[in-house]
C-alpha cells in the first residue's frame, strides 16, 4: 500500500496541477463566455474519461461472460466505479457552467438527460454488485453492463440527433464546428492528462478489487477449515 501511495499521490497531484495550470493560466480567454468557459477543459475531459471507463467495463463484461475470468470481473467493477466518479464530475461541472451561461442549473434536454441516465445506470450496476447475494451476481452485473453500455452512443449522438440547449459538437460536428488553435492545444493536452489520470485510477481500483477478492477467498478458506476441524 505504501508503495502505491508513494507512486499515486504525487502523480495524481502533478496531473491535476498541470491540467489546472494549462486550463486556468495558459488557455486563452474565450471571446463570448469569458473566463467561465475554462470549465470546458475539465468538463469535457472528465466526460471523455467516463465514457472510456464505461467502454472498458463493456469489454471486460463481455470477456467475463465468455471466459468467467475473475480478473475481467475485477476490471469491470474498477472501470465502472472510476467511470461513475468522472461522470459525476462531468455532471457537476456542467451545472456550474450552465448557471452563469444559460441562467439555469439544469434542463431536461437530450444530452443532459441521457448523461444523467448513463450515470444512474452505472450507479445501479455498482449497487447491484454490492447488495445482491448469491453466486450469480457477477454474471447478472456483466449482462446488465453490456445492455447499459447502449446509452453511451446515445449520449454521444444526442447533440447530433436533437436540437438541444447543450452546444453542438465542437469536434466532428461538420461545417462550422471547431476550436481556436490556442483552445484546441490546451484541450488536447488536458484530454491526454485526464486519460492518464483515468488509467491510473482504473489500475489502482483494479489492484484494490483483486486484493478484496483474495481476502474474500482467504476468509472462505478459513471458514471451511474451521468447519472441517
Amino acid at each position: 500500500m505504501k508503495k502505491l501511495a508513494i507512486i499515486s499521490v504525487p502523480l495524481v497531484l502533478l496531473l491535476l496541477v498541470v491540467s489546472s495550470y494549462l486550463a486556468l493560466a495558459v488557455a486563452p480567454t474565450e471571446a463570448t463566455m469569458g473566463d467561465v468557459q475554462r470549465i470546458f477543459y475539465y468538463h469535457v475531459s472528465s466526460g471523455w474519461v467516463g465514457m472510456f471507463c464505461f467502454f472498458i467495463n463493456f469489454v471486460a463484461s463481455i470477456w467475463y461472460l465468455w471466459k468467467r475470468s475473475p480478473a475481467s470481473d475485477a476490471l469491470a467493477v474498477a472501470s465502472a466505479e472510476v467511470g461513475v466518479v468522472f461522470c459525476a464530475v462531468l455532471l457537476i461541472l456542467g451545472t456550474l457552467w450552465a448557471r452563469p451561461v444559460w441562467g439555469i442549473w439544469w434542463t431536461w434536454d437530450a444530452r443532459l438527460t441521457t448523461t444523467l441516465v448513463l450515470w444512474l445506470i452505472y450507479v445501479s450496476y455498482l449497487v447491484l454488485r454490492r447488495f445482491s447475494a448469491g453466486g450469480q451476481t457477477q454474471v447478472l452485473a456483466a449482462a446488465f453492463a453490456v445492455f447499459g453500455f447502449a446509452d453511451v452512443p446515445i449520449v454521444y449522438m444526442s447533440i447530433r440527433w436533437f436540437r438541444t440547449q447543450h452546444p453542438s459538437p465542437v469536434i466532428g460536428g461538420g461545417e462550422g464546428s471547431g476550436m481556436a488553435p490556442g483552445i484546441a492545444h490546451v484541450f488536447l493536452a488536458t484530454l491526454a492528462i485526464f486519460t492518464v489520470l483515468g488509467i491510473l485510477y482504473i489500475w489502482l481500483r483494479y489492484k484494490l478489487e483483486t486484493a478484496e477478492q483474495a481476502l474474500e477467498s482467504a476468509h472462505a478458506q478459513a471458514a471451511l477449515k474451521g468447519v472441517s476441524q
Binding site: 463566455m33 475539465y42 466518479v85 464530475v89 457537476i92
Partner: protein, 43 residues
Amino acid sequence: MSSIGFLKIAYILAWVVYVGYLGRILLRMKKVEEEMKELERGK
C-alpha cells in the same frame, strides 16, 4: 455570484472529488492489507 466564482467552485469541487477518491481507494487498500495480515496471523 460572478462567473469567476463558478469557475473557482468548479475546479475546487473537481479537485476535491479526484483527490478524495484517491484517498478512499488507498484507505480501503490499507484496510484490506491489515485484514489479510490479521487472517494470516490467526492461522
